[in-house]
């Protein structure tokens, strides 16, 4: 019995390590995609176009090997030379703090909206769903550009600077966070309303209300707990959506952030480290939510 346990443990460890190595190879293959279609000279400039699979494999191998010595290397960015490590960590903390404020705001606001939604009358609910449909059709970029235009117009009209717009010297926080959480809030509210509507028709809710509990107690204590799991199964989608708008936001607000390392720097192993750093919080978040869910919902 014990021997079998040990054996399955080894197999699990083996599987996990294969997966980690696969992840690293996959990330290095993303950042060396340039060599699949361009031939490049020693300075890193592409000069001819074609299909070069062998070159590509070589580049993946070099990138993969260099990942292990990235810690004390240097890189060129916008004509200046930087040490990789203190530089990348500073930028990373700034970018990720924006992302996490936006996630927290998204979750809080959408919970609030879908809570309030239940006290609307039937006609108002239909109207609200129509508004949601329209909001859902607005791409994130248009929100960003419209907010920038609005702030600039306000400044021109009143001479009063409402919010800081561009992050050339200082770090900007407020406007990027608002822009980043706008579209996800609409997405999450749509998902939540759908799940809540299904959940509210379950028998245990009817029973609780018949017992004399108030609507909000039932909502907060019973419905939310059961809904949490289905919402966190959508967290991957939300994270993915936020990431892609984060890239655009950092570009449009000219923030001195982390994401531009992925497309402005010519060093493929540095970009690989950037991708890995982007994936880590998501993996941790999913693991943590899964643990909480297991303990709170399954065991009780």
């Amino acid at each position: 019995m014990k021997k079998g346990l040990a054996k399955s443990l080894y197999i699990n460890i083996l599987k996990v390590s294969i997966k980690i190595i696969l992840l690293l190879i996959s990330v290095s293959s993303i950042t060396s995609l340039r060599s699949l279609v361009y031939l490049r000279d020693s300075a890193g400039f592409s000069h001819s176009f074609g299909f070069y699979p062998i070159n590509f494999l070589k580049e993946i191998f070099i990138t993969f090997i260099r990942l292990f010595s990235i810690y004390d290397s240097k890189f060129f960015y916008m004509g200046k030379e930087y040490d990789v490590f203190p530089y990348i960590i500073d930028k990373y903390i700034y970018t990720m703090s924006i992302l996490f404020y936006a996630i927290i705001i998204t979750i809080l606001v959408s919970f609030l909206i879908s809570y309030v939604f239940h006290f609307f009358s039937k006609r108002f609910k239909r109207l609200f769903e129509g508004i949601l449909l329209i909001m859902d059709s607005i791409p994130d970029i248009i929100i960003i550009l419209a907010s920038q235009l609005l702030v600039i117009r306000l400044y021109q009209a009143t001479g009063f600077k409402v919010l800081q717009l561009y992050g050339l010297r200082d770090n900007v926080y407020l406007l990027p966070i608002i822009c980043l959480s706008f579209v996800p809030i609409v997405m999450v509210v749509k998902i939540m309303i759908k799940i809540f509507e299904e959940e509210i028709e379950e028998q245990y809710v009817e029973f609780a209300i018949a017992k004399g509990l108030s609507r909000s107690t039932v909502f907060i204590k019973h419905v939310v707990r059961n809904v949490i799991k289905s919402i966190f199964s959508h967290i991957g989608l939300i994270y993915w959506y936020m990431l892609s708008s984060l890239f655009v936001i950092e570009y449009l607000f000219q923030m001195q952030g982390f994401t531009s390392l992925l497309y402005r720097v010519n060093d493929s192993s540095l970009s690989s480290v950037a991708i890995i750093l982007i994936l880590i919080p998501f993996g941790l978040m999913r693991a943590a939510f899964f643990r909480i869910y297991e303990r709170r919902v399954l065991n009780e």
Partner: protein
């Protein structure tokens, strides 16, 4: 019964709106191109010289763009490119996705978790980054193979980079269907893989397919806007300005994503260059979203 009819009427109206716009778009491209001259310079009565872009006026209801072309005609002209690029890309993507997902489910089942691990980074790196890595240096591609090849190559790349998320989605849907009781029973009775696909999965999935198609089309339109922001235009670039003296580039095909992208640098001075294509894109996505909603209503019944 009554509600289904309403949904069908709404779908029919949306289809005819699309058809109307498409035919208008073709008429503008091939019938009117020579009769409408771009407006170059305007001499006012005070002796000033104005140069494009001009704001809305009676001759040009939506103003003109930086080259002096009428903006309304430009937008209508761009509709067919937006429509066809996103439709072709989505079709290609779906075909590759369906074939690959069946192959993975039936023949590579043992290494499926590893394939999923390998594709995870491709899922979370935004698609336009992959596009920038693969197809940013347009001059090299044009020098090597010409402009038509560039368009072909761009469309292939756009279809390929949206492929990993679609693959995950399709695999998830098929697995749900494969676990249904009647499919399991059919397999136990000795049905082979092709029979399962043809008789058990496809008839059910056929309904979802159209909704997935529209959702992917919306995703493609948003991707085109993202690419436009990074000054990458499907169909190549042209020099801006009335004689091409501007060093900002414009989209050659006047596809809507590119039109939004080309105007972000001018949005403070000439806001109509941004606002009209933005409204057009929102309207297009709204129509597609309404289509999804009505289709779901029909299938639920």
């Amino acid at each position: 019964m009554n509600k289904v009819n309403w949904s069908k009427i709404i779908l029919f109206i949306i289809f005819s709106v699309f058809l109307l716009f498409l035919s208008a778009s073709f008429i503008v491209e091939f019938g009117m191109k020579n009769s409408v001259e771009p407006e170059r310079l305007i001499y006012t009565s005070e002796g000033k010289v104005l140069r494009p872009p001009f704001p809305s006026s009676i001759e040009h209801p939506l103003g003109t763009d930086k080259n002096g072309n009428d903006f309304l005609f430009k937008l209508i002209n761009g509709f067919k490119y937006t429509f066809f690029i996103s439709a072709i890309v989505t079709l290609l993507r779906l075909m590759i996705g369906i074939v690959c997902s069946f192959a993975i489910l039936f023949y590579l089942k043992k290494i499926k978790p590893y394939i999923e691990t390998f594709l995870t980074p491709f899922l979370y790196v935004p698609a336009f980054i992959l596009f920038i890595l693969l197809a940013k240096e347009e001059e090299i591609i044009i020098n090597a193979h010409g402009e038509y090849f560039l368009i072909f190559y761009q469309i292939i790349i756009v279809s390929l980079i949206g492929f990993p998320p679609l693959l995950f989605l399709l695999i998830k849907e098929y697995e749900q269907l494969l676990n249904k009781d009647y499919v399991v029973a059919s397999r136990l009775l000795g049905a082979n893989k092709f029979h399962l696909v043809r008789k058990q999965i496809f008839p059910v999935f056929k309904r979802r397919l159209f909704i997935v198609f529209i959702q992917q089309t919306i995703a493609t339109i948003i991707l085109l806007i993202h690419l436009g922001v990074f000054q990458i235009f499907i169909g190549g670039k042209v020099k801006g300005g009335i004689i091409g003296e501007d060093n900002k580039y414009l989209s050659n095909s006047s596809e809507w994503g590119g039109m939004i992208g080309q105007s972000i640098l001018d949005m403070v001075h000439f806001p109509w260059l941004l606002i009209y294509p933005a409204l057009a894109v929102i309207g297009l996505i709204l129509l597609l979203n309404i289509m999804i909603m009505q289709l779901e209503k029909i299938y639920d019944r």
